[in-house]
């Protein structure tokens, strides 16, 4: 019964795409659209198979994902402890909040020009932009999450004999987790956009680069292929990593108020 339901759910989700693809396959040739303006479906499929075959697509995807991975990992390792440390004291968190809001506002794309100046073109600059996008937002959200843990909860833990380590792992981290996860989701969103933008101007491998170089040659089929790949990748990231993360933490614990 459940199998049937999830199958039919998948079918309902996929139906609009099937309609869209059909329209695409039919209308573009019918109206004899200039392929330099918009490619027919077949051309995109061909381009896709080609670039998978000669390995370039995987190269680009790999490069982009690697940058995201490294940037995000470093950012999280630094941001979460920092956020917790700052959030624990109401004095510190109130004082520092405007600062971190300001830098959250700048996160990501605005740093591209200065990143390319400091790190030159390539891996360093792009990873820095990603790091930046995730770091400030996650720190701010962690700070927020910790500082909004109700005092009575922390007091309860203390009066039940929790030492500093236990307080951290049993109270502060779980309590702040919903905000942290929200921060990761937002930060990754900015990071992904920053990635594509940075790759358009600051490197010679990666999905953004793939899009922009194809533009020079009017290879619209490569551009559309790239756009689809970007969309699919983000959806996978969202469904396979972020959504389960949110489900396990936020929704399971019934703490859905996202301030």
């Amino acid at each position: 019964m459940l199998r049937l339901r999830s199958l039919s759910a998948a079918a309902t989700f996929g139906a609009p795409f099937v309609v869209l693809l059909t329209l695409w396959a039919v209308l573009v040739p019918y109206f004899e659209v200039n392929p330099r303006l918009f490619p027919p479906l077949l051309a995109v499929v061909q381009a896709g198979l080609e670039s998978i075959g000669d390995g370039t697509l995987l190269q680009h995807i790999g490069a982009s994902l690697l940058r995201v991975l490294v940037g995000t990992a470093i950012a999280l390792v630094l941001a979460i402890p920092l956020g917790i440390a700052m959030g624990v004291s109401p004095l510190v968190s109130t004082f520092l909040t405007p600062l971190f809001r300001f830098f959250s506002v700048l996160a990501g794309i605005a740093w591209i020009p200065i990143a390319t100046l400091w790190f030159g073109y390539g891996f360093g600059a792009i990873t820095f932009v990603i790091f930046n996008a995730v770091f400030f937002i996650v720190t701010y959200n962690t700070l927020l999450g910790v500082s909004t843990i109700p005092r009575p909860v922390r007091n309860a833990a203390a009066s039940l004999g929790a030492g500093p380590w236990a307080m951290l792992t049993e109270v502060l981290l779980p309590g702040a987790l919903p905000n942290i996860v929200t921060g990761i989701r937002t930060g990754l969103g900015f990071a992904w956009r920053g990635l594509i933008a940075a790759e358009m101007i600051a490197t010679n491998v990666g999905l953004g680069y793939m899009l922009f170089v194809a533009r020079d040659f009017y290879k619209t089929e490569v551009i559309v292929l790239g756009m689809i790949v970007i969309g699919v990748l983000w959806l996978l990231l969202d469904r396979l990593i972020l959504a389960p993360l949110e489900r396990r933490t936020i929704e399971r614990w019934g703490m859905v108020q996202r301030a």
Binding site: A110, P113, I114, L117, F190, V224, W234, D238
Partner: protein, 268 residues
């Protein structure tokens, strides 16, 4: 210890009367640090100029009229894009929120196209429309429309069904209900969507100006980078940060709070 607490107490009372101070004071240590680091030249001046240099550049660019021009360009683009994104997004959100058929047909497409992201469209947009205002506006509208639609749908769906029923039992027609119940009920969420949309929107604007722009703050930063002049880059970043901080904190957030809390719809 008590002296410190007294100091803190005084600070809290001061900021209660003038909240602006709470915003400005935390930046002082940062400014001081910045000045210190550049004064002892930990990094070469070429890489990291000091606050004085940036201030001087600010004055110069204001005097030459370049900065106001660029600022105006950027702001106008954002405003136009945001306007169209909202005007198109709210009705679409209402439709999807109210009609299950529209939801089934459009929701998956919405999610996918949102996933592609605004910036990925720049490549094909440049082919279609060149490097002009149309490309920029399209990108911003594209960016703004998704948070607005998504949040509108959320708002519409979070209206308790009894509110619809109450209106029906008081004689309201379905169309009337959209205007009298659905829109006000969804308004807090719509404003949240607008706020988010603007947040993404101005980022998209900067990216577009960096990549394909010929004027505006983003362009200024990228042009400065090409010329190797860090000062303008930093200036641009600071201006952007301050501008958005002001708009978001002192204009958008209060509006969001006002509608939500006044009507008791949002618990923060």
């Amino acid at each position: 210890m008590t002296a410190l607490l007294h100091l803190w107490g005084g600070y809290v009372r001061l900021t209660a009367r003038w909240p602006v101070i709470a915003t400005l004071v935390p930046f002082m240590p940062v400014l001081a640090l910045w000045w210190f680091v550049t004064a002892i030249e930990v990094f070469p001046r070429v890489f990291l100029p000091g606050p004085a240099d940036v201030a001087r550049s600010f004055a110069a660019l204001m005097y030459k009229g370049i900065l106001p021009d660029y600022l105006q360009d950027s702001v106008v683009r954002l405003a136009v894009g945001a306007f169209w994104g909202t005007v198109l997004g709210i009705p679409l959100g209402l439709l999807i929120g109210l009609s299950q058929r529209a939801h089934t047909a459009l929701w998956p497409l919405l999610l996918f196209f949102q996933a592609i992201g605004d910036i990925a469209w720049l490549a094909i947009l440049v082919i279609w429309f060149g490097y002009g205002l149309v490309t920029m506006t399209f990108v911003i509208v594209y960016t703004v429309i998704f948070p607005v639609v998504l949040n509108t749908v959320l708002g519409v769906r979070s209206i308790p069904v009894n509110m619809h029923r109450a209106a029906l039992s008081l004689g309201a027609s379905r169309l009337r209900i959209v205007w009298e119940v659905v829109l006000p009920g969804a308004l807090p969420n719509i404003i949240t969507g607008l706020r988010n949309g603007l947040g993404y929107g101005w980022r998209a604007l900067i990216a577009a100006e960096i990549i394909v722009g010929t004027s505006g703050i983003g362009f200024m930063m990228f042009d400065a980078r090409r010329a190797g002049s860090v000062v303008e880059i930093l200036l641009g970043m600071i201006i952007l940060g301050i501008l958005w901080y002001i708009v978001d904190n002192w204009i958008l957030a209060p509006i969001e709070r006002a509608t939500g809390q006044r009507w008791g719809l949002v618990t923060r």
